[in-house]
Amino acid sequence: MSIITKVQAMDTGSGPAETEPCEKPVSTQRDFLQRLFRQPKAIIGIVILTVFILVAIFAPLIAPIDPNAFVGKPNLHPTLVNWLGTTGQGQDVFSQLVWGTRISLFIGFTVGFLSTLLGLIMGMIAGYMPGIVDGILNMFTNVFLLIPGLPLLITLASFLPPGIMTVVMVLVFTGWSWPARVFRSQTLCLREKDFVSAAVVSGEKTGRIVFSEILPNMLSLVVSSFFGSVSYAIAADAGLAFLGFEDVNKVSWGTMLFWASNNSALLQEAWWTFLPPGLCIALVSFATTMLIYAMDEVTNPRLRSEKEITRVLRKFHIFSRRSTPVIKEPITQ
């Protein structure tokens, strides 16, 4: 909005009108969570993630076989002893899958948490502080956004010592700028709201305004961003491992894929060595995406009422949306 329209807009008096929301308001935290957990998409997402987390925690109970041990002949079909067969080197695939969950999920959630945190700090400070501070931080963020992700990942991973913390650092390094940009936009938008000005006039300090007034209004965005980063991290980690840039002696889904490729699994037709880890990566991505969709639906009331009206219209065989439908029979909701 140009300054003139902004100045004029401040002076306009009109009847009861709606202000533009930056993000659809979430009524209360409890209400939000209640509605969220009723969405089928959210339930699917949460169930899947919970299963994986439990598998990671209870790995020693579920898969007592040492994933690194050589337990049988290479590339054995799934049997009752080795539920998912053996790898190209004779290790138990099922065991590797279960134990690999630990590393993969750890990397995923840690990177998710750290990227979101760093993105929040950079984004909110840039969004709230006008002028030079915003200018510098924003430029910094943009530089990181512009650098191609995969080449940067590979470059960093190749000269740093291999290890989990390296992977985490590298992924956070390449992944924080996108959330930062999103949070900055949102903060910029919320900063202009009257309730922020009201807080200033009440005498609130800047820090308190940012964390107590602005941040709670961004929560659904922060959570979505977190899960998005988790998804990104798990996939990127798998990619790095597959390309051999990680410690290939540690067992994770990515390294399983590396070894499968190394041992020509496709040629050997040993689908059990690469399909399970690939499926797990895809499932976690799917679960996080479902959660993000579910949150969208809860925070955007229009999406919810859309479903309701579509159901009713379908029941009465009305498919055209060009005019307001007329239904004179009683409707049950």
Binding site: M10, P16, D194, G203, E204
Partner: protein, 331 residues
């Protein structure tokens, strides 16, 4: 350095207050003259109504006094002290204690994620009006009752979207009252409320003025409500203050041609649809960017003279307590 004025009945005195905004992305030298040398004073326990259409600068003036935006020039004397000199960087807690602001949009001025109690508790805590939880809670309920929001306990627990527009605006007023201010700046507090609710809120403001002696600067585009509640009215046009006086003076003996135009445009059910043929209504408010030296209304004024385009008229008294800036009343 003399930063104080001798004893004054005026709680707020504004002198030559000016605000320019720069426009343009590359060439930042062009300026929007949002407020131009505004000067006025508000007596303790009185309501000053600032009337004008969109873009006239009334909201900007309020934001300058509330110290939400920095001034370009001019002085603000609060309780006799030049605040821009004594606290140049940002307003002190003491200033924030004494000067409060109510916004136009009752929903936007409340934070959707916090309860009503939280909104009222924060100013109490910040200005140390209460410390222990029970004390704070009691004061919150007391504030809600003082703005006729009952049952106070119930409302305190709710969130902004769970109460009506009129109730939200009362909460905003309660929040302003929490710090026990001496001056409340009200930016079109009723224009976004339902018609039947407006008078209730306006009467509340009147009551607060009478009972607690709080001064108000009330901004509106509606002359009728300005007359209803204002002890003094000032009319603004394109960033300038062009006429001032009591309600009766302005309504019955409006001096400035713009004020006369405004008055004739207000719907009056007692007359039919009066025409504005003799006043050139087709003109629009002029651009505020780098305006010329003369009177901003000269382009639309039916009684324009040569001097009007050249020089901004000085303030002249029409009768005691009634002043105007118009060359028709020059020497």
């Amino acid at each position: 350095m003399n930063q104080t004025r001798t004893n004054h009945p005026a709680i707020l005195e504004v002198s030559r207050l000016t605000k320019y905004f720069s426009v343009g992305t590359f060439n930042r030298s062009r300026m929007v003259h949002a407020v131009e040398k505004a000067s006025f004073s508000v007596e303790t326990g009185q309501v000053l109504a600032l009337v004008g259409e969109s873009g006239c600068g009334k909201t900007t003036t309020i934001r300058l006094i509330a110290r939400l935006i920095p001034t370009t020039d001019g002085e603000i004397f609060f309780e006799g002290i030049d605040v821009l000199k004594s606290e140049p960087q940002k307003a002190s807690m003491e200033y924030r204690n004494k000067v409060q602001l109510i916004f136009q949009d009752p929903f936007a001025s409340l934070n959707a994620v916090h309860t009503i109690e939280h909104h009222l508790a924060r100013p109490l805590i910040l200005h140390k009006k209460a410390v222990r939880r029970q004390e704070i809670h009691d004061q919150v309920c007391g504030l809600l009752e003082s703005v006729d929001l009952n049952p106070a306990e119930e409302i305190a627990r709710r969130y902004p979207h769970q109460i009506s527009g009129g109730q939200r605006q009362r909460v905003a007023i309660a929040r302003a009252l929490a710090v026990e201010p001496r001056l409340i700046l009200a930016d079109e507090p009723i224009s976004m409320l339902d018609v039947s609710i407006r008078m209730g809120v306006l009467n509340l403001i009147g009551r607060l003025k009478e009972e607690q002696g709080i001064a108000f600067v009330y901004i509106t585009h509606d002359l009728a409500s300005a007359r209803y509640i204002g002890d003094q009215i000032i009319v603004m046009y394109a960033g300038h203050m062009i006429e001032g006086g009591t309600g009766d003076m302005i309504m019955e003996r409006a001096a400035h041609p713009y004020t006369q135009l405004l008055l004739s445009a207000v719907p009056d059910p007692h007359a039919g649809l009066r025409t504005l043929k003799d006043l050139s209504v087709r003109g629009e408010v002029p651009s505020l960017i780098d305006p010329g030296p003369g009177c901003p209304f000269s382009a639309r004024c039916p009684q324009v003279m040569t001097v009007c385009n050249q020089v901004m008229p000085m303030q002249r008294e029409v009768e005691t307590g009634h002043w105007v800036r118009c060359h028709l009343f020059g020497e």
